[in-house]
Amino acid sequence: MCLSIPSKVVKIDKENAIATVDTMGVQRNASLDLVSEEEIKVGDYVLLHIGFVMNKIDEADALDSLELYREIIAAMNEEDRQEAILEAEEVNGEAREAALGYECPKRSV
């Protein structure tokens, strides 16, 4: 019910306060009655709800989020890699111990 659709403004009819917006290839009209005139311009990303532009999507903020997500994924991948190395070392160590017939001193993690 409260869902809204991110869309891009492609045309503005100031006189009738109507914007033409593009939602992933589908164009439609939306009322600008709920936003101030100077706030929305062509090329902006906006949220669309039951035929109205609700507000503008802050592009810089969205990009910040995407950057944060990239960092998180990179950090997680690095952590996974480190864990994999430690695991591999442990397996190798155990194999060596078995071959040598005695316990190697454990490395602290």
Partner: protein
Amino acid sequence: MGLELKNLYDDFRDADTIKAYAKIIKKDAKLLPHAINIMEVCGGHTHTIMKYGILQLLPSNIKFIHGPGCPVCIMPKERIDHAYVLAEQEDVILVTLGDMIKVPGSRGSLQGARSKGADVRFVYSPMECLKIAKENPHAKIIFFAIGFETTTPMTAALLDAVIKQNIKNIFFHINHVTVPEVMRELIDSRDIHVDSYNNKIDAFLGPSHVSVISGSKIYEEFPRDYNRPVVVSGFEPVDVMQAISMIVKQFIEGRCSLEVEYKRVVTYDGNVKAQELINKYFEKTDLFKWRGLGNIPKSGMKLKPEFKEYDAEIIYKDVLPLGEIEDHKLCICGDILRGMANPPECTLFGTACKPTSPIGSCMVSSEGACAAYYKYGNLV
């Protein structure tokens, strides 16, 4: 790099980001001082949580309680009966949003009324009423308005257009409801219903688009007066995972505050122009009856007295039914809306009550907890 429209869809649904957050949450959750129950207030979040299997990604000490934030689900039968009766009146065209099609009242749904000959039209936007009124100058168009703060300004914009264009055949039946009042009702121990209410809620996942209109300021009282953290989250699964992570961090750091994850669209003050439009035409009702929750003070909106000539509830007061209607005896929608039970605990769930033939309101809308469990719940 610039932002593409598809980034706003794909990147906030990205599987790797969701997995990365799942890992962070799992790690942080080990430091939680106690298990936590998060209530997602909004039905849109319920839908996301079920659709993307977010419950399965969370450690056992983080649980979700599904909240009452689905305006279709909380609509009492009495109000649907109003719509039904209005649709039966001579020369009336009843217009409402598509979400209302299947919701059962005591005499059936609006779809049922239409099949019996009533002129009921389901529209995408309230503004379509203008066209219908023009094409049917002798008919009375009644807009049955539903929704939370998200949808209220659109009804106000329609009334604004009706007055400015001097249109004489559009009227309103208002059923708009507000979020903070129901959140307060659910946790306020001063309330007389407290014995039956759920006080297991440790934190709130704040609604997305209610907050776009009203601003995050409407939740300030919850961390301050009730000691419940609130994190306003977007509807995409990455948004929800990030918001959960933010809630967990508050608990492990011993903080209790209002935070916004969904900063790309939510500000502290919200959409001021939309709020002004709401305040111009609407005022709070003393009480609004929520299905399953009962009467909640100041939780509904109605037209201000100076606009009574547009108020279908006043114009048609002689034909609108009064009196209370009981819910189906076995239906536990009330407990579900209060977060006291999960859908599979209902004996009707998936047997007598299905999305194609709903008995309870939570099965009607795809944002209702029962419908979400029915569609995606076999994963749990």
